[in-house]
């Protein structure tokens, strides 16, 4: 069955729900839970995301979500997978833009791009890189996490003069990127140091200091 036809039927269902009283079957519940979940996540934070509230805001009974996700954690895992996919897509996109940029400037751009994702999707990023979200037993999470990591490796290799094992470099880079992301997201630096989400890049990368 073609997708556009499904969309058409769905539209009919949605319309009929708006005219008559809401139908017994939602029709889109699984996807709606994901969409609304991502929205609620970013708006209200991970801590206060609840299946019941989600269900209510979709006009559906409190236990309806359990027909699609066995536990709340399963929903969160899917949300994280969504995030990992988005992240990998973004990274591959940015990789193309950086193809002709070398050396220190490349490093600067990587920081910029990584920070943009983390600070642009703070709650999603936090979920992805938490015990809740990093569930690598989830196929989708694992695959897309590896895609992201592969991009980082390729980006790092482009900066590596020697033919050494790039793992050390990419892991150092990764720790730095993730460290900065968490530091900025969770406001860890004492305020008198004068670092914030605007100027952090001035401090982030000073390899000549080592």
């Amino acid at each position: 069955m073609p997708t556009c036809f499904i969309d058409f039927l769905s539209a009919l269902i949605v319309l009929s729900g708006m005219l008559e009283n809401t139908p017994y079957h939602h029709g889109h519940l699984r996807q709606s839970l994901i969409d609304e979940g991502l929205k609620a996540l970013e708006q209200s934070g991970l801590e206060s995301l609840s299946l019941r509230a989600l269900a209510e805001s979709l006009g559906v009974s409190k236990t309806a979500p359990y027909r699609h996700f066995a536990t709340k954690r399963d929903l969160l895992t899917v949300l994280a997978a969504e995030g990992y996919q988005l992240f990998a897509d973004k990274l591959e996109e940015w990789e193309k833009e950086l193809i002709n940029i070398k050396g220190k400037e490349r490093l600067n751009r990587i920081y910029k791009v990584y920070g943009e994702f983390a600070l642009g999707n703070p709650e999603l990023y936090r979920l992805m890189f938490s015990r809740l979200g990093n569930s690598l037993h989830s196929e989708r999470c694992r695959i897309n996490a590896q895609r992201s990591f592969a991009v980082l490796i390729r980006l790092a290799e482009g900066m590596l003069d020697s033919q050494k094992d790039p793992r050390s470099l990419v892991l150092s880079l990764y720790a730095n990127l993730h460290g900065w992301a968490m530091i900025l997201l969770d406001d860890i630096i004492p305020p008198d140091v004068g670092v914030n989400s605007e100027n952090w890049q001035e401090f982030a990368l000073k390899p000549e200091l080592y």
Copy 2:
């Protein structure tokens, strides 16, 4: 009133509680909540720490803790403050040990020591550097966080050749340390990369690669 006398009275109260049935007043509730809270935190994790369970395990009613902590968050803030103090103490202690160690070896030791704390107190570390715990409006948290940061600055200055602003170096170092801590605590690296809490230091610091 001397401390030892208070301790003696407390011991009496505890003893009487063991002989007769538990007395109406606990006597040590605030401190017991902190101690038991730290224990439960490390044993069962931050997510499943509950005031009610804590109260029950101390043989006290479910609302008794609210006589000492207005909200659950307030208890967590105190636990975090406890962590920050412990952290600062450890760092200052280690600073003395590193006083005659210079250059790259010093850097290695800093990584070792920082990792030991984070991996040795995983739940406490996570609490301290989360939105819940990093409450810098708490005097004790702020003061001890600054103490820790000050140690890091001094340690970094000892490695700095030039007379430049040490903030960049210390912030890079900090991002790296915290990044590695979170990466190891939350199992973020894809397993096929082959990094774990045993061998991470082999990868952590390769400044010559930059």
